[in-house]
Every structure is written in C-alpha cells, then in structure tokens.
Amino acid sequence: MLFTSYEFLLFAALLLVGYYLFPRAWQWRLLLVASLVFYWLAGPRYLIFLLLTASSTYAVGRWMDANLRAQETTLTEQRQAWEKEQRKSFKAREKKKRFRMLLLGLIFNFGMLAVLKYTGFAVHNVNRLLHAFGAENTLNIPSLLLPMGISFYTFQSMSYLIDVYREKVSAERHPLKFLLFVSYFPQLVQGPISRYADLGPQLTAGHAFSSRNVRWGLERVLWGYFKKLVIADRALIVIKALLDEPASYRGMYVLMMILLYTVQIYADFTGGIDITVGLSEAMGIRLTENFNRPFLSRSTKEYWNRWHITMGTWFTDYVFYPLSVCKPMQRLSKFSRQHFGNAVGKRIPVYLATVATWFLTGLWHGAGWNFIVWGLLNCLVILVSQECVPLYTRFYRRFPRLNESAVWHGVQAARTVLLMGVIRTLDCYRDVPLTFRLWGSMFTTFNYGDLFNGAVLDLGLGRADWILLLIATAVMFAVSLWGIREPVRAKLDRHPTAEASAVALVFLLIMIFGAYGIGFDASQFIYNQF
C-alpha cells in the first residue's frame, strides 16, 4: 500500500478516527494491529522476517536485562563480603556475558539482513572473479525475498539492543509493545530510524485528542503530498526519460540530471518523511526530525548533519565511535605515533573508522558497487576537507569579512549541494564507469544549446509542466527558508483565515497538478527500496 494510494488515505483516515475513539489505554493495540495489517498487505511473507527480528531482539534484550538484574542482586547480597576488586571483576565478567548475548542478537539480525539483501551481490562478484580467472561455470544468483523496510527496522531494532547493553534503556517487558516499536508502520518503510528511548514510551502512552496536533499533523501530511506528487513525481518523468538511454544523454543532460535528481530526491524523501512525521503528530507521537535544510550546508560534513539525520547518527553512534575508540584501534594509533609521528598516529583511528563507516553507509543504501563508490566518494570529500582546515583558516584570516558574508555562504551552499548532487547520480546511473564518463562529458560535449532549442520538451514534460516544476520547487525551498526561525505552521496558526486559505490552496494544487492520472504514475518513494 503506497503512501500515495487512495487505499492508504482511507487506511490512515480510519486509523486516526479509531485512534481517538479508542480508550487511551488501548490506543497502542490499535496501532499495532494497523501496523501489522499494513505490513501484511505489503507482502504476507515479509511479516515472517519482521516477526523474527522483533522476537529475537526482544528475547536477547530480556536476557541481558535478566543478567543485569541478577548482577545487581548478587552485588547487593555480597555488599559486606566482597572487596572492591572482587566486585569489579564480577561486574566485568557479567558484562562480558552480556556482550556475548548482544553479539548473538547482532549476528542473527544483521546476518538475516546480509543474506536477504546482499547474497545476490556477493554471488555476482564471485562470478566475475571466476570469469576473470577463466572459469566457465558460474554460480546461480539466488532470487531471495527482500522484505520491505528491512534495513530500517533492522537498524532500529539493533540500536535498541545496543542501548540495552549500554544500559541506556531498560529492556521492554511487554512483547507486543516491543513489536509495535519495531513495526510502527508510518516509519517502517523509509524511516526516520528512531531510538527506543525517544519512540518506545510515546507509542504505548495514551494520547488525548488535541485539535492542534491533528491540524498541524495533517497540514504537514498535505505538504508532504505536495512535495511528492507535484514536484518529485513530475521531475521523475524526465529522470526516467534520461535513464532510458543514459549513454546518449551526455553533456548538458548530465548536468540536468544532477540538478533534477537533487530536487527529486529531496522532494521525495522529505515529502515522505513529512507524511510519516505528520501522521504521527496527528496521533500525538513526535518522531525525530530527519532533515534540517540540507541545502543550506556549507560543507559536506555539515550536509551529513542535516540530511537523513537519523541514519547519520546511527552510523556515528554504533559504528564510527565504537570502531575508532576500540582497543585495537587505539593500540594501532599508539604504534603509529611511535613509528610514524604524532600527526599520522592521531589520524589513524579517525581515517580508518571514517572509511569503514562510509563503506557501510554505501552498502546500506544498496547492494551494488555504485552505492559503495558513492559512500567512499563522500568519505573522500570529508577527509580532504578535514585536511584542508589549516588552509581554510589561513584563507579566512586573510579575508575575515568573507566568513560573515551571506553571499559567500550562498556560494558555499550551492557548491556543497552541487557536489552532493554530482556524487548522488551514482544512484541513478548505477554503472560506475558509465557515471564517471558521463561526468566527464559535461566538459567535453557542448550541447548546452539544447536547453533553449526545445529539445528538453521531448523528455516527457511540456513547457507548462517545466514551468510548474520550477515554480513549485522555488516555493518548496522558499517555504523551508521561511520556517527557519519559527515553524511555518506556527506562523499560520496566528492567522486562521490565512491558514485555511493556505491549506485549501495546497490541497487544490495537489488535486490539479499532482502527478497522477493520464500520463502520470504516482511512484513508490525512493527510500522504500532501502
């Protein structure tokens, strides 16, 4: 059931009405049933894998919790009898036990994700190797089921397990409440990747009807549909046309692809998140924000603090930090300091962990070399920028007023967005060598005149649609900028007539200009496939 389908609208409307008609203590049960029905409709067999993840994570969480409680009981009983050293060694022994339990949960769940998502990719690469060494027989590429949203719910569940191990949260005792945390349907297919401490208690707490929550939530949902149906799916028509024969659309068309895909993925992903967050807000549930105006970022590092925030913080907290401060890494750093000097030694943990994190981030996005190269290129830009910090410092010492200039900030933001857009086309073209050749063609194929001779009107959009796309995109960014100091909904809240007019206008725009009907096909959200 796509978020853009009429079935979903009916499903969400019925849920919202039912949610507030139910007694508060029962609301979470309704949410659970709705989530399971939603997932079951996506594919009944998917549900098996979701239940496997939820049950195994729940069991390991409870197991670690039981061990922790037993540890506390023993320590209380032995308070008088044990010396400090004895208590310390007992605690360390028990923590090791819990670490082994955690490991079991991680291996089982990441193993399931790896098998389902990456077996085909692994076999494909083995076949290429076999072929390179002259083997004639190759392995069959298995066709495995890929449950919807598996990357999202696996990451969310594993963050819970690690947080229980780190004693940041207590294990959830109620299995069905935990199942709701894993399966909560609005965020199941494209995030945000929530933490248990933020989301778990909210899902199971009762929420009284609040007209403001419902109004604000539905306004955000509406805005999400505007971004998706008026902008993203309209831009997608041209993108699909360009991808029909990518090698023949060179030069200016590559630049067009970069800019259009930047707009399309932004409208698509933030639009989807708006629908998710808005629907949750209408039920009184606040999800973690996943975006913070990434188009204003002045550097790649800043961009990744503003784009897909919950995925970024997941990788930082559960991959980058543990990897960079683990004992082997610190020992390697010490060794490098002694043998290659302080400058090299202190960079070792940062560099190795950054490369590993971006490699995995690429792999998370998809089982393909294009995604891995995409991740590593992001990493390269971040590390090169890091090395250039002394250069930037000298530059700004020489031109101190530049750093305060809004124009200069705009130039930096445009550069960052363009750079991210260039790298991101690896998502679209999929073929790495072809993508590199197409990037090069921007400087060798001078067909920029096609912009003005009507050739772009043969890509699926007529003149009116192009103009509409440009205006709608400008409106989308203008509204985002307008809400920097205070959310737009808060501004509108003070002027009920303006609020009603804005809602009616956006609704009409979606009805009239939404990319559906004859010649259009409301598509799946891009991040559903991850």
Partner: protein
C-alpha cells in the same frame, strides 16, 4: 585539567574552552574532533574512554570531560 585544556586548545585554538558548556550542542566539537580528542586523552591520561561514554553530557565542557577522565581513572 591544564593538560586537558592544552589538548583542547590545540584542537580548536579559537575556542574558549574554560567557559563554553555547549561544545557538542553547538557543534563546536564534531565526531572527527571527538575521536581525535579521545585518542589524545587516552594517551595522555592512560585511560580508555569506551564508546558508550561518548554522549553530549560528557563532552559539552572541559569540566565534563575532566570529570569523565577522573571517573574512568577511579574505576
């Protein structure tokens, strides 16, 4: 504490680490800075800061970082 301040000042000479209490909240120290800082601290104070201690409360000010070092030293 003085040694810690020296490490911090080397990382960001332009920041007044004695007064700031929002090093993480305001993005003064990012993830790359944190790891560089931990590597330096581990080496200078002979402690081992584990990943679970990397939370904003422990790194928002020089005093909080110092408290973390003392806690790990005693453990």
């Amino acid at each position: 504490m003085e040694q810690l301040l020296n490490i911090l000042n080397e990382l960001h000479p332009d920041v007044d680490f004695e007064s700031r209490e929002d090093l993480i909240d305001e993005g003064i120290l990012d993830s790359l800075d944190i790891v560089t800082l931990i590597t330096e601290i581990n080496d200078a104070f002979d402690v081992s800061i584990p990943a679970e201690e990397i939370i904003p409360e422990n790194f928002n000010s020089a005093a909080a970082i110092w408290a973390l070092i003392e806690k790990l030293d005693e453990a």
